[in-house]
């Protein structure tokens, strides 16, 4: 490399460095914000290892599978009860009638025994 070329490269480097020192405050603050967002990504990455999603997904799938298998028989009567309740609520009869149903049954049996 000739002396002239070295001098030119020094001149170029100085001018380019000058260009980074003279950045406007808005651009500077945008760059700082970007840097902080990048550091957040790094922080999150540290807590969640790269291989983590695979076993996690496997575990979630296994749990869902087990829940679907074992929860099915238990859920059937609950569904029926739910529908019965819905029928009662939807009917035009007074709700008090259903609440006192046991009393009416007892009364009917008592009258039957007495009669």
């Amino acid at each position: 490399m000739s002396k002239d070329e070295k001098e030119f490269l020094n001149f170029a480097r100085n001018r380019l460095n000058q260009g980074t020192e003279n950045l406007d405050p808005e651009t500077r603050s945008k760059l700082i914000a970007m840097r902080n967002r990048a550091l957040n990504i790094q922080e999150n990455k540290r807590w969640i290892p790269e291989w983590a999603p695979l076993p996690t997904m496997g575990l979630i799938t296994a749990v869902l599978y087990l829940v679907l298998i074992y929860a099915k028989p238990a859920s059937t009567p609950m569904l029926d009860t739910g529908l019965e309740d819905l029928e009662i609520l939807a009917s035009l009869d007074h709700i008090e009638l259903y609440e006192d149903l046991e009393f009416y049954e007892w009364l009917a049996n008592k009258n039957y025994d007495a009669g």
């Binding site: 380019l16 945008k30 990504i41």
Partner: protein, 171 residues
Amino acid sequence: MESFLASVERRAYRMAEIGTGNSEEALDIVQEAMFGFVRKYSTRPEEEWRPLFFRILQNKIRDWHRRSKIRKSLGLFWPFKGSDPENSIQDLVDTKEKNVLDTLESLDSMEAMHTAIRVLPLRQQQAFLLRAWEEFSVKETAKIMEISEGSVKTHFSRAVSTLRESLKEYE
């Protein structure tokens, strides 16, 4: 990591700004480079960070040029080319580049340097900035640019010769 990013962010922005001729696009490119670098390479040894970061940055700048070319060529078939703001920006950059050598005399030496580098073909720009400014070796520059060492030397020497000619009044 924070001090590393702080040490390269401004130069990265200037490189992207020279490469695209647009400050907003340059900020987007630097952001993508930072995020990509942190996601992929933050666990690598620190001495590898600088070349890796600049490789990502230069790839992003090249991608931006490819996308611009595609947009420009698609724009030829688009009837309302003039109303597309992205085309307008690119046209503005092109017009600026065409007249740039005529206007160099009116600029201060820093602006003249940026403008003269901006006019160079992209590969020459990258070779010059990486070799002259970042002071990477020919071998490192070749790795960053993903080309041969011979090509780096050619691009660099052409860039220096053009820039010396354009900027002889400022030396």
